[in-house]
Structures are given as structure tokens and as C-alpha cells.
Symmetry: C2
Subunit: 330 residues, 2 copies
Amino acid sequence: MKKYNVAVVGATGMVGRTMLKILQERDFSIDKLYLYSSSRSAGTSIEFNNKKVTVEELTENSFSKEIDIAFFSAGSSTSLKYAQIASANGIVVIDNSSAFRMDKDIPLVVPEVNAHDITNHKGIISNPNCSTIQALVVLKPLHDKYKIKRIVFSTYQAVSGSGVNGIQDLERGLLGEPNTFYPHQIANNCLPHIDSFEENGYTKEELKMINETKKILHDDDLRITATTVRVPVYYSHSESINIEFENEFEINELKKVLEEAPGIIVLDNPKENLYPLPTEVAGKDEVFVGRIRKDYSVDCGINLWVVADNIRKGAATNAVQIAEEVIRNL
Amino acid sequence: MKKYNVAVVGATGMVGRTMLKILQERDFSIDKLYLYSSSRSAGTSIEFNNKKVTVEELTENSFSKEIDIAFFSAGSSTSLKYAQIASANGIVVIDNSSAFRMDKDIPLVVPEVNAHDITNHKGIISNPNCSTIQALVVLKPLHDKYKIKRIVFSTYQAVSGSGVNGIQDLERGLLGEPNTFYPHQIANNCLPHIDSFEENGYTKEELKMINETKKILHDDDLRITATTVRVPVYYSHSESINIEFENEFEINELKKVLEEAPGIIVLDNPKENLYPLPTEVAGKDEVFVGRIRKDYSVDCGINLWVVADNIRKGAATNAVQIAEEVIRNL
């Protein structure tokens, strides 16, 4: 079995560390592992498959080594500066930042949804936004079967989406200390503000959900709107998704479509108080869906409650799955 | 100035105590005050306008006294048992339970919206569900101006909506203790489950938002759907509201319509990170609205973020406002 040389850029961050965990869990076939970070975290030692690996400072020379796949998870500015250098050296970059997501020449991939798009990559593959990934795993089989006309997203997003800064701000708030990261206290609060605001009143997070969904489903005619909200939850994003279909559906058939689709666990038994919950989904790789019910306000509508671990399926797991697809295509 | 004899049923509960606070704040013209509770809480002493009032056990004889207005806030079973007895004795009952809300002979009133409906009362007036009240204050001026076609509600509801039981379950959860009230831990979680489930997969809370909205706006043709969710917040419900209008609108004009409507504070300046927040709205009587922006997925659509103190405007304040209208109509 061929082994690959892998680099993780942003190895000491929350997503980077989770990627390393998932690479081990999934027995990703690694020969040499290179871990990179900013100078601030360089020198940190991280255990991988029972060996200590020292994190090195990221420089332009980092990619002159024999590397097959580089996972980038150190923010857009790092990706903009180094991803092209890496890909020019023949390295396949899987980028978790938003830097290249809407670039029409760069595939934006959720493996359960559009794995095929990977075949067209030119050295960089983008990992979608966390709240987009989990929605898409559920939307894709429904779009294939019933054709989606319109989507209204309202999200309930965990603080870990902001990395360790978000976690610490919630911890501080619960101790009665003031926020230092979010613009307002997140403990005991809901902040309808994720990422920065655009001129049209939408946040970048909301526009990511709208635009990335259209790109991944290859359907610019989809009508989508979104309101994204940060809630005082550590791990797992939840989403209230309202969908209008072109075609009629039968509710039990729709549930079966979801049950049979890859990467989904249907958890929908209200009588037993069973529905997806952030605390129970945290640590899992699947997308959980429940509260599946007809929306009687339109002809062919449905309401769903969709929960996934935002650090795993929303970032690290999806990136590793992309890498697995890349290898499969070699 | 005429003074009124007032009774509060459920005086020791969270809403009952807040009603007493609001009656004092608004200088409600009270002669005699009677406080009632179950036998368990009877004997409690509550200070009102600098005098101690002893809470008495609620019995059938409680309403043989000279009482003008009785606020009921002790749950549906108490209202079903005693409200008719009170109104048969000539007392105007303002009922905070869901017992009579959908009874076509009983007005369901948000004073800023349909105060006129009070004139038809036959002794009982219903106070709507908390999440419905705050939505309606915002929906009414928009419906009048642009005619609402369809609404998609997703809510972020505070634990105080379940009274002291909800507060204590969140406190317990934050201390790492198990839940004893909600079916799952509420700390660090989102529960898509408020009130009980119906056969069609909706919760009663969701159906209340749908049905009460139609009744209050006197418009059975409105198309409404809802997903209601409990979040780890102590006070104030938040709502992501997506609205489709019949008629076109200009966004600045729509904002002005909201600014000029009664009971609303528009807080919508994203550049300054200003939008309604549960922690800042708690303790206030107005309904706060922000994140006002065009929904580009339909011809005449809008997204709103609406926050109000669920115990005050969502229950106690609205009930006292109804009483003020009743007096005005005498």
C-alpha cells in the first residue's frame, strides 16, 4: 500500500489538531508528516501514531520538501500566501479557509455530494464553510429526488467555530468575566453576527451558506436565504432548514431517501424525545437530521433540524475525506 | 380616579411576580389586591406598594369577593377550572394560559395589534403565547402596509419560558449536574422541543405560533410555518423571521414603518455591531428588531431578528396592557 507524505499547516489550531486525530482514526496511509504553524507556536511537540512530531515555523521553504498532500487550516491570509507555492511544487492543497472557495477554477467539495468535482482540480481543493457542509450532506439527496426550489436557513452555531478564542470567550462569560473576542458576551446570549457584515446587511457567513450551496450543487437558480446566529454551545452547529421543492413528496419516502444517503443519521422519534442535539452529536462524523415534517404553508415544503460536529464533519473530517478521494483518483 | 380590585392567580410564579412588579411600575390604579396560589405556596408574603400581602390558597370561594380584574397565570388546568367561575361573578379574567386562546368567542389580544378585539369580550380575554406576542408586534405594521403572504419562524427561546423549573435546569447543567426538568440537558445545548409533540410532528409551541398569529391578525389565509428551539439563555426569546409580502417594499421605508409602530425599538446598525441581544433586551417592555434585510430569494421578502423579554412583553406586561385597555373601555 502506497504511503503519502502529508503536511498540516495550522497544526496547533483546533481544526489542525482534530485533522491529526482523524488521520490516525482513519488509518490514513502516511509516510512522512510535516507540521507547520506560525513562529508563535513553532517548537510545539504533537504526538502522532505514538511518535512525537515537532511543529516547524511555516516559511516559503516549507513546501520544497517531498510532500504529496498539504492540509491548510491557518486562515485565509496564510492560504493566499502559501497555497499557490505549495501547489506549484506539485503538492495537492486541501484548503479549509474561504480564500479560494468561490474561485470557479477551484473545486469546492463535500465528498458525499460532489466527489466527482475533485477530478478537475489544478492543485488546490477547497473545503467548504462548516455550516454549509452539514447542510449539503442533507440537501443533496433531497435535491436529486425532489428538486429544491428555495431554502431558508436559520443557524445555531457553536463557539468552537471561532476556534479556541470562541471557546475561551464562552468560558469567561460563564464565569462572569467580560468578553475579549466576540463583540458581545456570548454566555447566556444569542449573537446574530458571524464573520463580518457586508454592505447589503448580510454577514459573510450568511453569504457563504448561500453562494457555496449553489456552487456545490452546480445550480445557480437555487433561491436561498440565511440568518446565522452564534449560540452559547461549545461544539456542534444546529440548523433549522426550511425547504420548498419543485416536486411533490411523501414524507415517509423522503425519510427513507435521507436514511439511505451517505453520511447521514436520521434521528427522528419525537414520541421518545429523540432528535439531534449538539451535545450528543459532538465527536461524531455523521450529519444528524430530525424534526422532519411537512411545511403546510407551501405545496411541497419541509422543515428539518440538522446537527453536526462543526470541527469534525464541518472541517477536519471533510478535509480528510477529500484527501481520501484525491488518493483514490491518483 | 377610579380604583380597581385586582386578583392575581399564580402570584408566586415567575410571571405572577413579574405582573405585580409591572402593576407597580405602571401605577395601575389598585384598591384591593388579592393574591392566590396553590396550597403549596399559600401563606407566602409578597410586598406590593410597600405593603405586605399574604398569598391565599385558590378555592372556588376566591372569586366571591368584590374583584374587578383577575390575572390568571397558573397553567391551563387552573384556568379551565376557575376562569369561568370568576367571569360568572362579573370579574374580567385576563388569562395567560393556552386554555382559551383558540376559542372563537374569546379575544386573543396584543394591545399594539388588536386592542379593539377586547370590546367583544364576554368575561375572559386570553394573553397569547410569549413567542407569538413579540412576533405580532412586529408583523402587524408590516402586514398592514405590505400584506404578508408567508412567514417562516425559527426561534431561540429562553429557559425562563418554562418558569423557575427551566432556570434551575440551566443552572444545574452549568454546574455539571443532570437535568431534572427538560428531557435533555439544556446547558451547552439546543433542544428543538418546546411543549409536547402532536401527531403531525409539530410541537404545540410551533402550532401556537402558527394558529395564534392567524387569529390575532384575523387572516386565516396567512401561510405560516415554525420551528421552535430552546437555547441556554435565561431571559428573552429571539426569533429569526423570514417574511414574504404580497406587495413590493423599499427597505428604508419598511424600517421607518417599524420605527413608527407602537411598542417597537429598531436596533439595526451592523457597522457598530448593534442588533438586538437577549442579555440587553431582558428587563425591557419593548420588542426589539434588527438585522433587517431584503431576502433576495423571493420577489418581496425580508429577514428580521426579533428579541423581547419573554416574561415581560411575552407575558406579564402584555397582560397588564390588556387590563389597561379593559379599564379604558369601561
